[in-house]
């Protein structure tokens, strides 16, 4: 039977150097505790896909030197300004950037979810994003008359890393409305979830909880990480820690400040 991992460190063990890792957008339940554990472990050369955008998580991983390729639609600290390590890494060409647009990433994950090699999408034509993506193809739709449409290749990550309110002892994870977490899990080879707590009983047996549940057969490991999204929020559970994000934005503006942030908040395992 399914067993929760003993620790966050155990849970993230399958995230190998060089693997393709998908993480969710900044408001969907971001596994920040697991991200700090990954940085402490010194993961390298990640092909990081943020579905479809990211904030602190991508910035931290980039700044800590864990990322070789980044595929996303935007990285920003939102109200707290630009993502400084992302911006700096792009300008100094330290990472390879695959610029996308949100629905293209969603569609590429849906392609893997459906087991098809590609997904069509409207828009895109005439955008320079398309110009720089030689992996995206334009065809004439066979259902139209001179009707061009873009085909996006499926994205099949090695690992999806998510954070959610709870999981049960069968590996079922309650994701609520954040259904992109399910799409990520369907598309990925393996899914690793951190959760706020373990739910006693089977989530799928409860008619009101089942609709928001990711079934356990998609889930490789679950580890408990209370306030595991901190300093980001977890929808319906806790909000963002605005003062911490301000502090991050200020510290990460310089290489030295970022190193100090890592020392203080990542390597010393300090949390909220």
């Amino acid at each position: 039977m399914f067993q929760p991992a003993k620790s966050i460190d155990d849970a993230i063990a399958p995230i190998d150097d060089g693997c393709m890792l998908v993480v969710p957008r900044e408001v969907s339940g971001v596994p920040m505790a697991a991200t700090r554990a990954l940085i402490r472990r010194g993961v390298k050369r990640l092909h990081l896909v943020a579905l479809p955008t990211s904030s602190l998580q991508a910035d931290l991983l980039i700044g800590a030197g864990c990322v070789e390729t980044l595929e996303t639609s935007a990285v920003s600290l939102g109200e707290f300004g630009p993502a400084p390590r992302f911006t700096s890494a792009i300008k100094s060409a330290e990472i390879q950037m695959k610029d996308a647009t949100c629905p293209a990433l969603h569609a590429a994950f849906q392609a893997s979810e459906k087991g098809v090699p590609f997904m069509p999408l409207r828009g895109l034509i005439g955008s320079d994003i398309l110009k720089y993506r030689d992996d995206w193809k334009v065809i004439d739709s066979p259902f139209g008359d001179n009707d061009k449409i873009v085909l996006l290749p499926a994205i099949k990550p090695d690992v999806a890393l998510i954070h959610a309110p709870m999981a049960d002892r069968f590996g079922n994870v309650w994701i609520g409305r954040q259904r992109e977490l399910a799409t990520m899990a369907h598309a990925a080879v393996r899914t690793i979830a951190t959760v706020e707590k373990i739910h006693e009983g089977n989530l799928l047996d409860d008619p009101t909880l089942a609709p928001g549940t990711l079934p356990g057969f998609y889930v490789e490991t679950v580890a408990v990480a209370a306030r595991g999204a901190w300093p980001l929020g977890l929808p319906d559970f806790y909000g963002v820690d605005a003062s911490h994000l301000s502090e991050y934005a200020r510290m990460a503006a310089t290489t030295e400040g970022f190193a100090e942030y890592l020392r203080r908040y990542v390597y010393e395992r300090r949390a909220a």
Partner: protein, 255 residues
Amino acid sequence: MCMSAAQRKKPFRDEELLADVIARLIGDVRHVAVGNASPIPATAALLARERGNGRPYVSLLQSRKHNFFTDGARELFDCAGQGRIDVFFLSGGQIDGQGNVNLVSTGDYAHPDVRFPGSFGSAYLYYVVRKIILFRTEHSRRTLVPKVDFISAPGASTPDTYRPGGPVALVTNRCLFSFANGRFTLASVHPGHTVEEIVENTGFNFEMPAIVPETSSPSPESLKLLREVIAPQLSEVYPQFAAQVFGVTQSAFAS
């Protein structure tokens, strides 16, 4: 946004004027969605809803309370593809006179001078949402340029490209432009600003009527709605904005 001496005398803040202008642009529609980092469009959409007695639906994507989507982060885009999103907002690090927006970088793409966050959903929504309202507070030759360095999303498309939607207007801290037939037209100048100032600070060419009207100021009723009803709703998603503009403080655990 910096306040000039002239502005200080006005009984409203710039943000209130802009929200009011945008709320009027929204018009009578069914569903308005507001993306990331767009506090003034969010304010405008909520104002339009208050005035319309609950119509239009307003979806603030980063909100829990003002978010009607239950099919994950893709639903906005699917919904827009279905033609069910009537109005959306886009901005740009650069916007040019053809309505092209740049959310990626300036200079050479491989070695940029300035890197912006990225294109978000612009390379899709700009095509399929009927009314896109462009919004950029900073009105300068740096932001409003003759030609963007990177086209995140183009203002217009060739006939063989599916394109039911596109830009209808551009709102800045100085004026309102309308957009039609591939060009901007100066529609009104905000109180305290002048046509000359706009010509001077705009990097692209635009059309202009012989007499350019002044942008209407928000009514006392609108200001009351903004300050008393809308502002508290904003603090969930835009705590800093709500605090700075309206003096509303965020609760410790907004959910």
